[in-house]
Amino acid sequence: MDLLIDISLLTFLAVTAIGIIRITNLFAVIMLFAIFSFLSATLFMTMDAVDVALTEAAVGAGISTVLMLATLALNKDHNEKQPDKNRHWLPLAVVLTTGAVLVYGTLDLPDFGDPASAPQTHVAPHYIEKAIEETGVPNIVTAVLASYRGFDTLGEVVVIFTAGIAVLLLLGGRREDPLDDGAKDKRVPQNLVLRIVSKIVIPVIMLFALYVQFHGDYGPGGGFQAGVIMSAAIILYSLVFGLGAAERIIPKSVLMFLTSLGVLIFAGVGIASLFLGGNYLNYSVLASSQVAGQHIGILLVELGVGITVFAVMLTIFFAFAGRERS
């Protein structure tokens, strides 16, 4: 059964990719990309990577799609120029050659699901066996993410922080009138239903984001996913009720504050453990026992990640949405 699901999903994925190449209407391309993300997320789930699947679903099908649509909305032309027929051959040759080399490379890869393969034999067994006693966190992915490889994650959070600032530099310059809200859209009757449904749904999404954030130690979830889901709730709000209304709830200054606050919490936990006599980001010294200290540290770090990811995603969306149509 697993194999059937696996193979059919992979085939769907390949078909969707071909569709993305062949269709020239960019709007359709982006919608196919949403399907592509959903499919790959489902595939990750069937391959036991639940945290990754959660992230990919929220990020790929949610945020990426919304951002691509926003880019397209700023663009009048939704059709790609028909590519030159004669220029196909060189790219095709390059791609086929590279593909052939890569397929040759897979000959040496272990069989799918082989428990004795190289990736399974080095550091991973240590994580799997020791994570629960050393950190007290049942979700091994969270333990590795926030504790064992905390420094790496700090780097990733800084990358996201930087990307947020860069997008703001590129697109944040022009201010819109914040009083321009969605009120004038009331004449479009579809909005009544959407508004009421959104009013019901948005609190549920926010609540669920908090659940994902704080249940991340015990089940699939954590700061990255929670931040993205929370920002998706606000994005839904601004899509239905207007950008002005959303910016009145979370002004840009607050977002900027939150963006840096998250990174500060993360780095601050590291500094705190430094002052308490441990190494940077070694949470064991934060409390009397190692397990308790690790747990506190992981919770705080995940909180920092969640805040930064939430704020950056929302900053990026507002920057795109606040841009006038050219």
Partner: protein, 101 residues
């Protein structure tokens, strides 16, 4: 029995995917995506019962949420004029608002 449901859902997914790939109007594609998303939620729910891993139900919920958000985004981020693929010519022109909110 779960297997039957999963196979049925997979068949549904493939047909919806075909509609999303062919769909003459953009609306057809959006409808297909909506259907695809809903069926994916069901697939995950059934899969979680099949394998007995009930914490996957959280993921089904996330999928349902994201699916709704992306459909709303598709509908709202486009002025009505843009919805027509070039195949259609009987476009009744609708005044396009300059901003999209």
């Amino acid at each position: 029995m779960y297997a039957v449901a999963i196979v049925a859902i997979l068949v549904t997914l493939s047909l919806a995917l075909a509609r999303a790939l062919m769909g003459p109007t953009v609306f057809d594609r959006i409808a297909a995506i909506n259907m695809f998303g809903t069926k994916t939620v069901l697939l995950i729910a059934v899969f979680s019962f099949l394998t007995g891993r009930l914490d996957l139900l959280d993921m089904a919920l996330v999928y349902a949420m994201i699916n709704f958000i992306s459909v709303v985004a598709v509908l709202r981020l486009f002025s009505h004029k843009d919805f027509h693929s070039p195949a259609e010519n009987n476009v009744i022109s609708v005044k396009v608002r300059r901003r999209w909110f």
